[in-house]
């Protein structure tokens, strides 16, 4: 058995950063990842099996076999689902986690996003709450994430809403015909717009090449390594110290405690020449960074006589408040071609409606979209009144793939304690570990906000010159997916939260959760930069105060 300063479970947006900060501070780190490290060609370019469109599988894990989850729909119907199927709420399982294949939008949350309950009140049935920290506490760490990983954006934009000390290290992505149209439309409506900040090298940065404008950001890996995730920034830095041991293919089955109930380390399973082998490692600190669903599952599965309901779950809080984003989406037909074939594709956003909407709690951001592979477009983007087959369908594709403007965006989730991760003890994964059971839905207030944003999307497209406009909104469903968050939220009161403001589990001095699970609310934005900023902040805390 080996002893480490820290064991970190998960190499995604948060885990990779914590590993980098700790190792560079001279700490001995064991970094565990359930998936493999994947090369560009291993991720591949399969249009039917990727993290954006996963009809038949995934390109970045987890394996379709042996990794089920149980999903309970709003009517109470229970089904066992595989990783590529609807309702699994998958995130990639490989070195880098979701950052290996994400679109890489790099938004900060707004100051008011940290004060949702005191700004709006708490609607009945919701667990909406303020964060125990403020935007100002996180601002230096947002900046650090932007500079250490590399974000392209316009630092002068949004200064009134999002005060920042320092601009972005990289210039924003170039405009395209759709940017021009949407900017003109927004101006006509009196809406402000700004370039979408992206963790993408618009110029060479951090020893990596610039983006070459291919069409494959979301769901795929970058051919020039210009998309910045934990796999190509902080994890290589961690490994370069010689102090970080990265173990891939490691399935953590429990966090270990001693006879007093104190956390001592982890037990994990790896492939061995003849079957599997259970290994144990001890550490001063254990950091759970497995993503909101798997982090909650691991805490809940780590049961002992001291902790019969799982670690940190004395108050039945672990796994609750699961949230991601509902995505209303609108499409419009332009007279002229707006598609250039130059990626990433997403260029322009409005934050006009993230807050301050009459009779609504929160709201969301709207932006144009990443380039969609044609089959993705066929499934996702066609008007509801178009026949699904026949010449009309084919000719719509022929005439309009390059003329459709896309607008979509994440709506702030109004959390529900009933949207949750529990354990299904009757369904086991390949390693005989009980799987995550997902149930509940977001709060109906989220749906109202999503429908409001859907109408704003339509309005934006009409003002931008679209002849025909159509749109979709998701309805009352469980939100989670790749933006999953909230299941071990931070707070000052152990009765309504799982960790303190540093991610330390209230009932355990040396057990930390550091990932999207901590988010008290998930903003009306892609959450990854907030996950990264929290990781830098908590990792600094560990170095300065605990190790």
């Amino acid at each position: 058995m080996s002893n480490y300063d820290a064991i970190i479970i998960g190499t995604g947006a948060a885990g990779g950063i914590v590993a980098g900060v700790l190792a560079e501070a001279g700490k001995n780190v064991l970094l565990l990842e359930r998936g493999p490290a994947l090369s560009f060609s291993e991720v591949g370019r399969d249009h039917l099996r990727n993290q954006r469109l996963s009809i038949y599988g995934h390109n970045a894990g987890p394996d379709l076999e042996g990794n089920p989850r149980v999903f309970v729909d709003p009517q109470g119907k229970v089904q066992t689902v595989r990783p590529h199927q609807p309702h699994y709420h998958n995130n990639a399982a490989c070195v880098g986690g979701g950052t290996r294949v994400y679109g890489a939008q790099a938004w900060r949350f707004l100051p008011v996003d940290f004060r949702m309950a005191s700004t709006y009140g708490v609607p009945e049935g919701s667990s909406l709450s303020d964060w125990p920290i403020a935007y100002d506490d996180l601002e230096p760490f947002y900046e650090r994430a932007e500079w250490e990983l590399g974000v392209a954006g316009d630092g002068s934009a949004l200064q009134d809403k999002l005060p920042r000390q320092r601009g972005y290290p990289l210039p924003a992505v170039n405009s395209s015909p759709q940017t021009v149209a949407l900017r003109r439309g927004a101006a006509q409506l009196g809406w402000s717009t700004n370039p979408v900040p992206l963790l993408i090298n618009t110029k060479p940065y951090g020893g990596r090449e610039a983006c070459i404008g291919c069409k494959y950001c979301v769901g795929f890996a970058c051919p020039t390594d210009a998309k910045n995730g934990s796999h190509n920034t902080m994890i290589p830095r961690a490994l370069a110290t010689g102090l970080c041991t990265l173990q891939t293919g490691a399935i953590v089955n429990s966090i270990e405690t001693d006879t007093h109930g104190t956390v001592t380390g982890v037990s994990y399973i790896v492939q061995a020449p003849h079957g599997t082998e259970v290994k144990k490692a001890t550490a001063k600190i254990v950091v759970v960074s497995a993503g909101a669903i798997e982090s909650a599952r691991l805490l809940l599965n780590s049961r002992s006589s001291h902790h019969p309901n799982g670690l940190g779950n004395e108050n039945d809080q672990v796994g609750r408040n699961l949230q991601g984003h509902l995505y209303p989406r609108a499409y419009g037909l332009m007279r002229e071609k707006v598609f250039t074939g130059i990626g990433p594709g997403v260029t322009i956003a409005t934050t006009q409606f993230n807050h301050g909407n009459p009779d609504l709690i929160g709201g969301g951001m709207l932006a144009d979209d990443f380039i969609k592979p044609p089959i993705d477009f066929w499934y996702d983007s066609l008007p509801p009144d178009l026949p699904r087959w026949g010449l009309a369908n084919k000719q719509f594709m022929r005439d309009n793939y390059t003329r459709v403007l896309h607008v979509r965006g994440p709506v702030q989730d109004i959390s529900s304690p009933k949207a949750r991760v529990t354990i299904d003890h009757d369904v086991l994964d390949r390693w005989a570990i009980p799987v995550a059971r997902l149930s509940g839905t977001t709060h109906p207030e989220t749906v109202r906000a999503a429908e409001f944003m859907q109408r704003r999307g339509e309005e934006w497209l009409r003002a931008s010159g679209c002849e025909k406009v159509w749109s979709y909104s998701p309805g009352l469903v469980l939100s989670g997916g790749q933006h999953q968050a909230g299941t071990c939220r931070m707070g000052n009161d152990p009765k309504t939260s799982v960790t303190d403001k540093w991610g330390r589990v209230h009932s355990h001095d040396n057990l930390f959760v550091i990932d999207g699970s901590l988010h008290v609310t998930n903003g009306g934005f892609n959450p990854v930069l907030t996950i990264m900023a929290l990781a830098f902040r908590s990792a600094d805390y560990l170095v300065q105060n605990r190790l």
Partner: protein, 136 residues
């Protein structure tokens, strides 16, 4: 897993109405049949029986309504039957849900036509050239 010759004929006639030829090739010429043949060996294996039964039912539907094989019907007749299948408004006895079969049929036809040529369909990227996916 392989379709019988008769099922293959029905399939070809059906997918060519789902994505008909115009200035650009229709589904079959673009390789949708090859895509499906590949997929019947892997991802569509669990749906192979649905496919076989659905195609046989489509054939039965055609014989019942027009006393002819589906592949020998006029385009208008084929479309009339496909519209009925889509709506579940069928006359023959179907042992699979006509709507489910039809959804499977149109989705997998589109997959073969619009996904990358390495999947077996979209021969030489013909659908991408058609829609402008490769243009700068």
């Amino acid at each position: 897993m392989k379709l019988t010759d008769e099922q293959q004929k029905t399939l070809r006639a059906a997918v060519d109405r789902i994505i008909p030829s115009d200035d650009y090739p229709g589904a079959w010429q673009a390789g949708v049949g090859d895509y499906l043949a590949q997929q019947f060996e892997k991802d569509l294996l669990p749906f192979f029986d649905t496919y076989c039964t659905g195609l046989a039912s489509l054939e039965a539907e055609s014989r019942k309504q027009f006393e002819q094989s589906f592949s020998s019907l006029s385009d208008e007749q084929k479309d009339a039957i496909l519209n009925q299948v889509e709506a579940g408004d069928v006359v023959a006895t179907w042992t699979v849900s006509p709507q489910n079969f039809f959804k499977l049929l149109i989705n997998t036809t589109a997959e073969g036509f619009y996904s990358e040529p390495q999947q077996g369909g979209n021969r030489e990227g013909v659908s991408w050239a058609m829609i402008g996916f490769d243009s700068i």
